[in-house]
């Protein structure tokens, strides 16, 4: 019942947003509202704000006029699916790296002090600077018949953005058990590994889930940016630059990759919710 009400309000919010969009488009000046030279409310012309129905209609039409071209929506959907798979792999890498770092930082205070500032610092390096290097390094990998593909570079870059929340959240989670609990483990004379397994990991779950939510959003964003930067084929990133080239003549088309990206984000959030459900046992305290 309350679930439904939340959904209903959420849907109403989206409708409201649509009404505001169209309402402003109808009433606002084509060239936007300016204070001095700065535009403070957006332009309403079709280049800046296409009609919502134009976007929807455009999504139903074929991507290009080439015979047999798929409708735009299905094209976006399969691009989003491809990007999402890459994002998931990046996310998986981020999970492993983030957790390992967290374990290391939990294990050793020195490691914690030494690494944490650099982990924070790592997130101030723009992906666009990193992407070409990663691609470069990865192509140096030629182990046997294994050839590094573009999507792997993209996944690595997505992981670079996504590991941060996991590492930070996980450290906090691993350190969350209260003194009574850690002392108890010590009194049992068990070592770090057993304490980790029996106490710290289960206790960290409650902190891990929100971290995962942030992390998967970061993975999605990282994937798309890296696709653009590296030039990976077939995903939402490539779609953004390709559609931009017809962005002026076919402005509604440019919005569909945004829809695809949002879809990926929502799917990610859904996935995390599912994981949260699976680990419900360890989240009793939250309820």
């Amino acid at each position: 019942m309350r679930r439904w009400r939340a959904w209903a309000w959420g849907a109403l919010g989206i409708v409201l947003l649509a009404v505001v969009w169209e309402g402003y488009k109808a009433l606002g000046p084509a060239d936007g509202v300016r204070i001095g030279d700065t535009i403070v409310l957006p332009r309403t012309n079709d280049l800046a704000m296409p009609h919502l129905w134009t976007m929807v209609q455009r999504a139903g039409e074929p991507v290009t006029s080439a015979p047999g071209a798929a409708p735009l929506w299905s094209y976006v959907l399969s691009a989003a699916w491809l990007s999402f798979k890459v994002a998931l792999i990046g996310w998986a890498i981020a999970l492993v790296v983030g957790m390992l770092l967290a374990l290391l930082m939990q294990r050793s205070k020195i490691a914690n002090s030494a690494l944490l500032p650099w982990i924070v610092l790592s997130q101030t390096v723009p992906l666009i600077a990193l992407a070409p290097l990663v691609k470069r390094w990865s192509s140096a990998f030629h182990i046997g018949g294994f050839a590094w593909a573009d999507w792997m570079s993209v996944a690595v870059i997505a992981a670079y953005l996504a590991f941060f929340p996991v590492a930070v959240g996980m450290v906090r989670g691993l350190n969350s058990p209260v003194a009574a609990q850690t002392d108890l483990m010590r009194s049992y004379g068990i070592g770090w590994w057993q304490t980790l397994l029996r106490l710290r990991l289960p206790a960290a779950v409650a902190y891990l889930i929100p971290a995962l939510r942030l992390s998967i959003a970061a993975a999605v964003i990282g994937t798309v940016v890296a696709e653009v930067s590296i030039g990976m084929d077939g995903g939402i990133g490539r779609m953004i630059i390709e559609f931009a080239q017809t962005g002026s003549a076919d402005p509604a088309k440019q919005w569909s990759p945004i829809g695809g990206a949002v879809l990926m984000g929502l799917a990610g959030a859904g996935l995390v919710a599912l994981i949260g459900l699976l680990l419900k046992r360890y989240r009793r305290a939250e309820a």
Partner: protein, 363 residues
């Protein structure tokens, strides 16, 4: 499906050269589009295969520097503009321009008629669009040649992939490739008339006319390998030959070439694609010294601009003359000789571009 841009692989039937096929990778400087039609055609039509080459064509992303991919050994050949490469060469990258496919520059600066910008000098005090990425040098050279102080007398605007900034009036004069952005504008409805924008609405500054044009799409090869590796020299010649065959076919069959590019995964609308192929043909044909040969005068003009033009960061592309192996006509001349002996028209003297009518959205 969007994954259609599988690396286009020469799957030719007639392997005449005999022996095993040789794997070759070509790094483009952008995504698959008509600009690179010749290579896709050569692959599709089996010209590479005929030379015993198995060519993989790799599109680029925004941050791909083709010449570094080449230098790192991740590609055997790369397509890039000469001014973008000269700096890399001065930085120690050992590459050689082995075939100057585009003889003319496709870069222009376009503006709406009412701005009254007909010469580079008129850009003074205007909001001027620039792509950066090494695409900006002809513009800067042109403005500086007209006596404009590019640090203080214009305001520079970063130009995106689309032409919205130009159409919305944020940019007075925008960079436009004849084969791409210029068409984008002409494919757009003019809200004032309800019809497409017309060429008559626009003023176009063409750097070829101004005299600050620089050499654009060329095939680059690894200089060190060229100097030492006989096999690579051989392959280079074959690669150039097959590529030129592709361009010749493109000249003669623009529509088919456009379709081949689309089949290789380009999502540009068909009309736009055809326009691009046709415009690119104009940059190649008719050829002065045979397609692919570097004209010394054009090279020198490019180098001269690279030595003396400062962009917004206050730096010139290069500070001293490039080494002598920065370009070489040796391989292209051999390739041309072979092609001529096979009866191919490598000059395109009688080339007549087709007429492409642009429709809304490039359809």
């Amino acid at each position: 499906s969007p994954t259609a841009t599988q690396p286009a692989t020469g799957s030719g039937s007639g392997t005449s050269g005999g022996g095993a096929t040789k794997k070759v990778t070509l790094q483009l400087q952008w995504v698959a589009q008509g600009q690179f039609a010749g290579y896709y055609v050569a692959a599709k039509k089996g010209y590479y295969a005929k030379e015993g080459l198995d060519v993989t064509i790799k599109p680029a992303g925004t941050d791909t520097v083709p010449i570094d991919v080449l230098a790192a050994g991740d590609a055997d050949y790369a397509i890039s503009w000469v001014p973008k490469v000269l700096g890399s060469i001065e930085g120690g990258t050992k590459v050689t321009d082995v075939a100057q496919i585009f003889e003319r520059s496709g870069t222009t600066q376009i503006s709406f008629k009412d701005k009254g910008i007909t010469t580079p000098g008129d850009l003074k005090g205007k909001k001027v669009g620039s792509w950066g990425y090494g695409n900006q040098w002809e513009l800067f050279a042109g403005m500086q040649k007209a006596g404009i102080n590019t640090d203080s007398q214009i305001s520079l605007v970063q130009q995106a992939f689309d032409m919205n900034g130009f159409l919305n009036g944020d940019i007075d004069a925008a960079q436009a490739m004849t084969y791409n952005e210029y068409a984008q504008v002409l494919e757009t409805i003019n809200p004032k008339t309800g019809k497409l924008y017309q060429p008559s609405d626009l003023n176009v500054i063409n750097w070829n006319t101004v005299g600050t044009a620089m050499l654009q799409d060329a095939i680059w090869a690894n200089a060190d390998k060229l100097a030492s590796d006989k096999d690579y020299q051989d392959t280079t010649e074959k690669f150039i030959k097959a590529s030129i065959e592709g361009w010749i076919y493109t000249r003669d069959h623009p529509q088919e070439a456009a379709d081949i590019v689309a089949a290789a995964g380009s999502t540009l609308p068909a009309g736009h694609q055809l326009w691009m192929v046709n415009e690119v043909n104009k940059l190649i044909w008719p050829s002065t010294g045979g397609i692919g040969t570097v004209q010394k005068s054009s090279w020198d003009q490019t180098v001269d601009i690279a030595l003396h033009t400062k962009d917004n960061t206050g730096k010139t592309i290069i500070t001293k003359d490039p080494p002598s192996d920065a370009y070489s006509n040796v391989y292209v001349e051999k390739a041309l000789a072979e092609l001529k002996s096979e009866g191919a028209d490598v000059m395109g003297t009688s080339f007549k571009p087709i007429t492409v009518t642009l429709k809304e959205g490039g359809k």
